[in-house]
Symmetry: C2
Subunit: 208 residues, 2 copies
């Protein structure tokens, strides 16, 4: 699966939130290049070339390679947080909301695995300010999962061993899907999501 | 923590199984360089320089950069499999053996997180034969965890939703510790291991 097919935008228009069109194409090219060779081995010339553009044309949209990585990381983290918040804020029991969070978070990491890997593994390549901004978004994701666990515990639905540790484990389990998931593999993204939702409910003491 | 402090060998002599001493030093330098800049952005000249050696001296021990990566990956995967097999083969109930496997596998991934990241994230950079060899070791790790789950289910100790899916999840949860674990963080490697052993027992239906 190419990065163009698995980006955080709509299926029809990957990274559709990025305009103008040239800026979007450059972002798609950057995800592919970073995923294949790593951030440090990729030049802005490589990225421009993949997008069928000149280095000068790239420079109109992104001043540096780090700006491209930051844009990818920001959009990816915004989307991840949005998915978790939507599940946390919906109607339903804590168990339903936790299962929904896990299913949709897993699906995103499976379907968008190239993007997710770049976002996760190249965090150290961000400059200090951009890194701090992304770390803040990650804290909010963490807090969103903790909130569901606390609400479930308060309602007597969950029996949680360690709220913050379990939140870390739940997110980690879902994020790591992007490392091993294979679109040619035995399980679809949805199947992994359903399996993991069941395992996570057990982690919080809901036995089915 | 530098790679020198967190390698698969003994605490006193990281990568102590690698001889002669120059070959060992080059391996330590390669882990550090790959972790910092990625495999593709690292040259054999960089690695030799870090080890305080000339490119020609490196060439005596390793013909290519890929050979270094293969050696690192092979030793790392051998050690991971050894940890899992030791836990699977010890005396005790399936629950005790599963908890032991998780605790020791987590501890390795936390303490050796730099090495583990290189081993996990640069798999695609291996040549086809080396990659096939490593994939085989990963299948054996998977089979070792599956075996404990099957034995526990057969003994009536576990109630497992999906043996192969749960085995994937257990390994994935432990491996991803190498991505987020921070030696300056709130929890020690041992504390994460104990927490995760409890969560994994719940995944297999052992409620405590």
């Amino acid at each position: 699966m190419s990065a163009a097919e698995e980006t955080p935008g709509t299926e029809d228009m990957p990274w559709g939130e990025v305009t103008p069109e040239a800026a979007r194409r450059l972002l798609v090219a950057a995800v592919e290049a970073f995923a294949e060779r790593g951030y440090h081995a990729t030049t802005t010339r490589d990225i421009a070339g993949r997008a069928g553009m000149s280095p000068a044309a790239l420079y109109i949209h992104y001043k540096t390679k780090e700006e491209l990585l930051h844009r990818i990381s920001r959009i990816g983290h915004d989307r991840a947080l949005e998915i978790l918040k939507a599940a946390a804020d919906r109607e339903g029991t804590a168990a339903e909301r936790l299962a929904d969070a896990v299913r949709s978070f897993v699906r995103w990491h499976a379907e968008r695995h190239t993007t997710a890997r770049v976002v996760q593994y190249e965090l150290d390549a961000l400059g200090p300010e951009h890194r701090a901004e992304i770390v803040q978004l990650r804290r909010e994701s963490d807090a969103t999962v903790r909130r569901i666990l606390e609400e479930g515990a308060a309602a007597g639905e969950f029996d949680v061993l360690d709220v913050s540790g379990t939140a870390v484990a739940v997110l980690s389990l879902c994020i790591d899907v992007s490392r091993w998931f294979n679109t040619q593999g035995r399980r679809t993204a949805d199947e992994v999501g359903v399996l993991y939702a069941g395992l996570v409910l057990r982690m919080v003491g809901v036995q089915k």
